[in-house]
Each structure stands twice: as C-alpha cells, then as structure tokens.
Point group: none
C-alpha cells in the first residue's frame, strides 16, 4: 500500500496541521469517572470536534504500547514494525547531529558510581544541561584508532555518543542495567558482526571512566539503545509534502527529521510555537505541532496536572485555527494515563476537521465521545492518508 | 483469505441482490448541512435500512479514491490492488468485445485537430454515438502486417481499439496529453518489451489520421489506458455463484464480465432494469444492478440532480423487493460529492437486509445514520462475504 500511496501522491496548495498532545489518551481516576481529557475544560477542542470526523486510533497494533518514536512514525503514516528506530538514533537526530549511514549512536546517561564501581545514582543527581555539556567537552579527549567519536549533550544528565568508522554495527546490548547497586554491564555483542563495535565501546567506556574519575556527581556513564540510521522514505518522497515540525523537545524534532521534516530550533513552549507558526506558514504545507507535557504529567501520575496541560493546548488551538488551515488533526501518539504512570496500549482519541470532513456532531473531545464518532477505532497510520485525501493530495486509483 | 473463501464456498438456492448507486456517497452543500443521500426523500430505502445491518465501507483503502473499475471489483470481493484493470480493458469488455490473452486494448477518443495538428477539442464536439460508429467503420481500412486491428464505438466520442498479434505488450504511454492546444503525444514504450506495440500504434495513428483527414469535427484520435486482460478468478470459481449484471452503461457491464458475470444488453434505464429482473430471476443467484447517474450528477456538481437520481432508485427499489430476494445490499462503489465534482475517498454508506440480518434500527439511509449502524466502517471487499455467509453460501471453517 505504501507504494500505491507514493504513486498517487500529488501536490495541492492546501495546508494540513497535525497537533499532537503527547500521551493524551487516559483513564478515569476512579471507576465510572472521567479521563483526563474528558475532565479538562476544552471549549475550543469541543467546538472543533462538533464539526469534525471523530474516532479513536491504535498507533501500532492492538495491545501494542507505543514508544515515543514509533507512536509518531505511525501518525506520519509509517508502519513502525517496518521501520524500527533505536533510541540512539532518536537522541542523535534530536540534537540535530548529522548521522551518516554506517554510524552507530547510543544514548549516554551520566551516572554516579560508588567506590566499588556500582551505580549509586542512574541519573547523576539530574545534573543540569550546562553541566552535561561541559562533561561532553571533556569526553572529546577520547581517542580510538580508526574511529571518530562524537559526544553531544541532550538534556539534563542525558547525552548521545556516535561512533563513525568502517565495520561498525548496532548489535550491542545496553551497558545500563536499569537498576542501582550493581556495576554497569560490560558491552556484549548480540550478533557476531558487532565484535569490532564491542571493542570500540569497551575502549570508549574505559577512557571515559578515567576522564570522569574526579568529577562529582557524574563520574560514570551508562549506554543504551545502540542504533544505526534506518532507511525511512521521506514524507516528501512518499506524499509530495513539504513538512515542518514545531516541537520543543529534541526527541520529537529527531523523529521528524528522520522522515525528512524540517524542524524549527529554539522553541521553548506553546507561546513560542504560536508565534513561530505564522513565520513558516507560507513555506510549508504540513505542520507537525507537538506538546510534550501531557505525557510528562501522565508519567508523573499527576492527573490534575495532565488536565491542566490539555487545557493549555485548548487555549493554544485558536492560534492554529487563525491560520485557516485546510485540515486539522488533533490527537496523541499514544495514551499515558496518570493512573498508569506509563505509556499504555489504549486507543487514542482524534478529530479530523476540514471542508471535506462529514461532521459527526461529537459533543466533547474525549475518549468515550470519540469512540461513538464516525470512524470508530482505526489504525493510527491511516490518519494522514485521510488528511491527504481530504485535501486533494492523492489522485484517483484506477480507471 | 481468497483461497479460504474459495474452499468454503458452496451453493444454496438463496438469491442475493447487489444494488449499486454509483458514487452515492456525498458531502453537505454547506457546513452543518445534509449530504445528497441524507437530503433525498427515500421512504423505501429508509424502511429497508430500519430492518438492515448498516455501516460505511471503504472500497480500496483509507485515503484511496476509487476509479469505477476498482470500486466495483471491491464490491465483488476482490482486492483491487491485486487486480489492476486498465482503461482499455474496461472499454473493450464494456462493449462486449471478446478480448483474448495477449490482446492489447486502448481507449480511443475522437478529437478535433487544427491545421497545425494541435488538439482544439479533446472530445470532437461530443459527437453522437452513431457518428462515432461510422468513424469506427472507416478505420476498418487500417492494415498492419501481422496484426489484427479491431475498433469499436463505445459512447459519444469514445471508442476502443484492440490490437491482436504475437509479441504485443501494454507498456505504452498515453498519446492523449489531457490538455488542448498541443499536438497528440507520440506513442512511447514504458518498458522495452513494448517496442513492437509502439511500432504498431504509430502505424495505426498515422493511417487513422489519413483516413480521418477530411472528417469534421472528428479528424484525429487520442489513445489512453493501454491494457492487457488481467487474470481475475471468476465469481463462479471463487464463490460458486451464477451472477448476472443489469447495467445500462458499457463500462459496468465490462467490469462485470471481467469477473465472469453474464451482462444483459439493451437496458436503457431503471424501468428497463425493473422489467428485465423477473425474466432472469430463475436462472441466477446473484444480481448486480447498477445505476450510473448518481455519479454523473455528482461529477457535474449538481447537488439537486443527484438527490433526484437517488430518489429514482428509491422508487425502483420495490420492484427489487417484489422478487423476494433472500439478501439485498444497497450501496455505492465510491463517493462522488457534488461539492467535489469528482470521486473522493469518503466512506460509502451501505445496508445489508435479509432474514439473517440483525436489524439495527437505522432510521434513515444516509452517511451519518449508517456510521452509527452495526458495522461502523469496514472494507468494501467484505460486503459480499457477509452476504454469502448470511445466505448459507459459505461452509463452516474447521471442525
């Protein structure tokens, strides 16, 4: 079907906005209660839902809880099972590091090790990003024969390392044991072809420990998510779109760049996103706008705070509608119910609004009202196809 | 799944009617308004919907706007992506030309060329079918070494040419540039295997221009949709059915014949279709009844006229029900909203009525009421399977 879509894709002057509230799907706090979205006062979203086609979507598959990267790939119309994206690649592209084919990237978390070498804090006291950047500078002293090593700060205690050189492979297991009180794991190949990369990683870890030995609290490193660049066709190639991402968090800019989107830098919050939108409006036809904190508050288990984040997006919505987009999708990349404190596999509410949408009179943007909307429950990967069709961006199939 | 259906298929005396209003799916004329189908006064369809299982179907896939041939293939239970049908084949089978394996057919449109050879009217003033037939007679004078050439009139300025001979291929690009003011394109191979066919086509076009030189307004030809016969299993083979088509327009008889249906000739309108039905009732168990003008009026952008065509089909419905069919499906092959003046990808309303249908009390046959029906939104390719199952024509799977 992907090839059929590519063959049918055509350009049109119409503009599509995809507004993502990360992890928006939720659950009631108590049996019989309302979800976060159903609880939130969202007059703008409710008014839009009433003139939209509504439904719930399943990003990857029934019962599959999406990670952030595959959840977004699905919204962009890709089958995440066909395009696995490693955490290292998400981190590297998120900070705009220009990865090349054959590079291997891994997430690097600074950590605190005790005198025995065991992990006493997996997050090194959540050091600030500036401190993290200074440590990354120190790691420039690492030297490995035949290999270029790049270390870049991401956010707080999180950084990314990229190895460049011949014969590398991402088939290396995490050195992060995910628990404290034990030593970091030795790098191990999950496939014989990664023997060289394991040597390189051992060498890197050993040199880093020496360089960081006198630092406090970040005197050690943990590596996870070794990954090579996947071969994903761009949204330009697949859909003839010229897309742009307006996201605050690096990881979402990273996923957007993996599908060939331009991603604006320097956006701090929804206000900045609202101010930026008019400045890029004329040059693009697809606008991915991402709000992270609905998910963060869900992960924190803070129901009320997640409700407030949804209400912030509701207050932001008029600045999107003021641009008079031809089609608007509002949805999430997955569910993050506060009661679960984690991503879950629950279907995610969505609305599709536009001139060609058959409004279904959904009275409130919420999980249960949307489940009674036109679309029922569909694959999240279909949303962009519907958007393209409703804006004249897919030609007729067959005679 | 196709093989499973074939293995489970069995005969039963029960009779199925598939009543297709071409392009019936629509959109409101103004925001918040009703679609064509929702606007139409359809007491017979509404009464049937109330005792039916209702829903919306997607003929080919989300976001895919169906052409007429693939839209119908889907209703007959075939995956249109697996069985691409070229325009030339649709035209040839539509006029009951007995195509053979290896034949190459193309749609031939008579056109007006100016003194410089540029196209001044792509439709030659929409000459009547009789005039078209006369021109096709003249083209019998074409003679190409080793090749049999058949030219048959279709309707108005439209005809079809079939080349028969060894070593032909349909990998030839259209000579119709789809715009006026330029010359017809030279035939070009899209694959080296079509070299011989390109020679044959050039020869045919050159001889046709000489033959038509003194004609007015149709002094030139445009070719499009070069196509070979696809290998589609018949409905007899797949479903053990003995089907018949009651259609007015040649193209729909053509698609029906491609899946092995008998197709009645000489039906001029719904009245003729109503009179013909009892005459073929005893000999068949599947009846495909097609009404074209819902689509035509949609393509014209004439909302009110499309409403009237739907009301004509509503008035026709009692003559179908009078035969006491065991199962009736009423639907369309795609949407053609008058506001779009074109086929669109919108889901299409359907009803399934019969002794085994769990009536869902849908109050009105329309897009929004059907979206709240039993089936929600399903693939159009599933409708015939449900019909077969509800009439005892598919055996149990497994012990």
């Amino acid at each position: 079907m992907e090839n059929t879509i590519r063959e049918l894709a055509t350009t049109s002057p119409k503009k599509i906005v995809l507004l993502v509230m990360d992890g928006v799907g939720g659950l009631p706090r108590e049996p019989g209660g309302k979800t976060e979205l159903e609880t939130a006062r969202t007059p703008n979203l409710d008014a839009l839902a009433a003139r939209s086609e509504c439904g719930l979507h399943i990003p990857i598959g029934h019962g599959i809880t999406p990670g952030s990267a595959p959840g977004h790939l699905a919204l962009f119309g890709y089958n995440p099972l066909e395009y696995p994206i490693g955490r290292g690649v998400v981190a590297a592209t998120g900070v705009a590091f220009p990865m090349k084919a054959g590079d291997v990237a891994a997430r690097l978390n600074f950590a605190t090790l005790d005198a025995s070498g065991a992990i006493s804090d997996r997050r090194a006291g959540r050091i600030p990003t500036e401190k993290c950047a200074g440590l990354c500078e120190l790691l420039k002293a690492v030297s490995i024969n035949g290999i270029e090593v790049f270390v870049r700060p991401v956010k707080d205690y999180r950084a990314v390392v990229v190895f460049r050189g011949a014969g590398l492979s991402d088939a290396v297991a995490d050195t992060d044991p995910q628990v404290q009180g034990v030593k970091p794991l030795d790098p191990v190949a999950t496939d014989p072809k990664a023997a060289r990369t394991v040597q390189v990683t051992r060498d890197f870890v050993a040199q880093a420990r020496k360089i960081l030995a006198s630092q406090s609290p970040a005197n050690g490193i943990l590596l996870r998510g070794f990954a090579e660049l996947p071969h994903i066709p761009s949204m330009k190639d697949l859909y003839q779109l010229n897309p742009i991402a307006l996201a605050v968090y690096p990881d979402y800019k990273g996923v957007a760049r993996l599908v060939g989107m331009e991603a604006l830098e320097g956006l701090a919050d929804l206000d900045a996103q609202a101010r930026a939108l008019p400045t890029v409006w004329d040059k693009h036809d697809f606008f991915f706008i991402h709000h992270k904190y609905t998910d963060s508050k869900g992960e924190d288990g803070d129901f009320d705070a997640k409700v407030k984040e949804i209400e912030k997006v509701d207050a932001f919505l008029p600045s999107v509608l003021a641009m008079k987009p031809d089609l608007v999708i509002v949805t999430g990349d997955h569910s993050t119910p506060a009661v679960a404190k984690a991503h879950t596999a629950h279907p995610v509410p969505f609305l599709i609004s536009g001139e060609w949408a058959r409004s279904d009179g959904t009275s409130k943007f919420g999980e249960r009202p949307c489940s009674r909307g036109t679309w029922g429950i569909i694959s999240g990967q279909m949303l962009i196809r519907i958007a393209l069709a409703y804006t004249g961006k897919l030609k007729k199939f067959g005679a």
